[in-house]
Amino acid sequence: MPTQLLAVRGISKSFPGVQALRDVQFELDRGEVLALVGENGAGKSSLMKILSGIYTKDSGSITLEGAEVDIDSPKTAQSLGISIIHQEMNLMPHLTIAQNIYIGREPRGGVFLRERALNRKTTELLERLGIALDPREVVGNLTVAKQQMVEIAKALSFDAKVLIMDEPTSALTDAETETLFRLIEGLKQRGTGIIYISHRMEELRRIADRVTVLRDGQYIGSLGRHELDVATIIEMMVGRHLEEGARPGADRARGDVVLRVQGLSTRHLLDDVSFELRRGEILGFAGLMGAGRTEVARAIIGADPVESGTVQINGRTVRISQPADAVRQGVGYLSEDRKLLGLLLEQDVNSNILLASLRDYTDALGFVHTAKGKQKSREYVKSLRIKTPSIASTTKNLSGGNQQKVVIAKWLARDCDILIFDEPTRGIDVGAKEEIYRLLNDLVAQGKSIIMISSELPEVLRLSHRIVVMANGRITGVLENEDASQAKIMDHATRMGVEKEYSSR
């Protein structure tokens, strides 16, 4: 039997306006764990979606066990023996383990389900995999790790030859991760090929037989088991490109501290987060997905409950238990998900701009004086150059960049001094990005202070005066812009373990 299980060559895929993948290749042997790494947006997910039939490729070939295959739907992928375990669980919490695994393929006698046969089948499957779980247990009662086991069992119940795991350990404890690794070891021995997507460098050294690196939708290279070296991998991931471009200089005067966060912790993720934001500063927040950057923002503005920690604004400790309190203190949050959390899509531009400051236009009886408010809205549409037919246009019909400007206008109208931008340029085309960058620089020049959460390292480096790097709910580094590089940031961003290195200033 040949050792090569899967070979992918010359895969390209484009979406309107974006080349997601360009001429990507990799190989997977039987009984091998191939780790696929790359920054956020490097194309890992798109590639896996092509393999599992969710997307169709524009060009390139996929060879499975020596024969070229055409994966045109998730169903085809499944019947070919390619199974994917998504980052977010796809289980039905109210059904049992057995019902979940064989959903849509239940053993039946006429119109009746044969529950006992179903459970027997599941028991056999779980035993074969060495997973100690009761098939009749309801999935919702299981820990995340055990639910993951169920996902794996489900994937393998299709006789998967290739198993794709997308960040399987992101929600697991160390002990649970250990169990997962043992399971993977068992699968390897039975000849299953595993494509393993992870950001955790120490994990890769532990279980990967080979690492393939993607960057900006392109294949960068592969490293064999003996060449695996974290520094090399990170260098391949970030490359040497994009370091150019204007970066904020070190010569500017330091303003007062406007926001001081100390010992911020939440029940699920954040662990003793402390940092300072100065007047007229853009403080970048870098980190991989799930590092806890958005959670810090939400905790500061009181959108999520906090376990412990204090927030000081202009030197005074403030109690913020809900977003309305934060707004009163002059802290505005611009969500990464504009459509879901930032805008009233069905309402007009005017209503959106005035949403946070409506009280300024309201008299003692509660009547809103629209003329003044509309005047203000028009001013912002003009000064931020929001492209909209009129302030009465429905916000839904604006482009992403202009929607973002509407959100910015909302907080400017409220006269917030501290603005937290969460992925300010996500889903915005290149030209509009430049405009948003200029806007951010203008704002700090006017004395506002900005926290900018971004997954795009070039963006972080270009705009931030200082950069806070997070991993796994903790701050792993605070870098001055002139000391920072993409490689340095990635290094801090992948420090998932217990080693607590804190290189501030």
Partner: protein, 340 residues
């Protein structure tokens, strides 16, 4: 020859900033449901006028308006709730409880007229407040919270009244609240409906409460993150609905000159139907007071017209049900078109 006044265009007509056709179209589209409802109302009026000579008479029209009053007042309050994306099922039996409490205050306790009326309205407001707290603070789904309140109000109305009607025959002036005619020929109940409609219109379209009602219905979380204290406003909005429920309770008690503890179930569904027919979206974020008034009128014109044409009560229900289906269907068609 002097300039012909006919060909001369007055300066005001020349719009300095011509409205883009897209803007006008989208404006039309948002008004479509409401204008459809209005057209429906006109068609019904014309149809019934031809179908029966007794329909388009002042006494019948005034009867229609009187029968619209109670459902209309309930519908006005519940319009706010539905625009937030919520629902209030407790308005029917809540109205009954408010009527019974008015009876207790005025008949059993012999309190002054004004105190009794305010007490009845306060009963409604209190129920609305409790609904609001249950929904905004305890995070109960509006359907469940107000279903529970519906049963509680029904039970309390029966217990407090001893399952017997309370008659207001001894209370001077009470009946006039609904049946007196401050405007000759027009029952006061109708006057109250119109006044409340104006108040509700002003609240919904001119006040901060109205703005936030739409904001919460459009995107509650985005509103919260923008610093809108959504909990407080939701409590307030349900309380407003409760005030309208209380007023409906006083009006129906005055109209019947008695508080009927068995009454009230089914009123909430008619009121909700009126709101929906008037183009307010059950999904929240969209709706109007004008639409609700038209919706309530459609309901009573339909029922009155069918009755005048001697169509059996059972069939009247079938027809009303069909009208609701058609109204909601055209609404969902419109929504599908606007999202595609």
């Amino acid at each position: 020859m002097n300039a012909s006044p006919i060909t001369e265009t007055p300066a005001e007509v020349k719009n300095p900033e011509p409205q883009k056709s897209g803007g006008a179209l989208s404006f039309l589209r948002t008004q479509l449901q409401q204008s459809l409802a209005f057209a429906t109302l006109v068609v019904l009026l014309v149809f019934f006028s031809f179908a029966s000579n007794n329909f388009f008479t002042w006494s019948n029209i005034s009867g229609i308006l009187l029968s619209t009053a109670v459902i209309g007042i309930l519908a006005l309050g519940t319009t706010f709730v539905i625009i937030t994306g919520g629902i209030d099922l407790s308005i029917g039996t809540g109205m009954t409880l408010a009527a019974v409490m008015t009876g207790i205050f005025l008949v059993n306790l012999q309190l002054p007229l004004l105190v009794g009326v305010v007490g009845g309205i306060a009963t409604g407001a209190l129920m609305g407040f409790v609904n609001g707290v249950n929904i905004a603070i305890l995070k109960l789904p509006p359907f469940i919270a107000t279903l529970a309140m519906m049963l509680i109000a029904q039970g309390l109305a029966l217990v407090i009244s001893g399952v017997r009607p309370i008659y207001f025959s001894g209370v001077a002036g009470f009946k006039d609240i609904a049946l007196g005619t401050l405007v000759p020929g027009l029952p006061n109940a109708v006057l109250i409906l119109f006044l409340l409609a104006v108040v509700a219109y002003l609240m919904l379209s001119k006040t901060i409460l109205g703005r936030y009602t739409f904001a919460i219905g459009s995107n509650e979380e985005a509103s919260r993150l923008s610093g809108v204290n959504t909990r407080t406003w939701k409590i307030l909005i349900y309380t407003v609905a409760g005030v309208f429920t209380g007023i409906a309770g006083v009006v129906i008690a005055a109209r019947l000159d008695s508080a009927q503890p068995q009454l009230g179930v089914g009123y909430e569904l008619q009121a909700i139907a009126a709101v929906i027919i008037g183009g307010t979206s059950l999904l929240g974020g969209r709706g109007s007071i004008m639409g609700t008034v038209i919706g309530a009128l459609i309901m009573s014109v339909l029922i009155n017209g069918l009755r005048i044409m001697s169509i059996q009560t059972e069939w009247q229900n079938v027809v009303v049900g069909l009208v609701i289906l058609v109204a909601v269907f055209t609404d969902s068609l419109r929504q599908r078109r606007s999202t595609s």
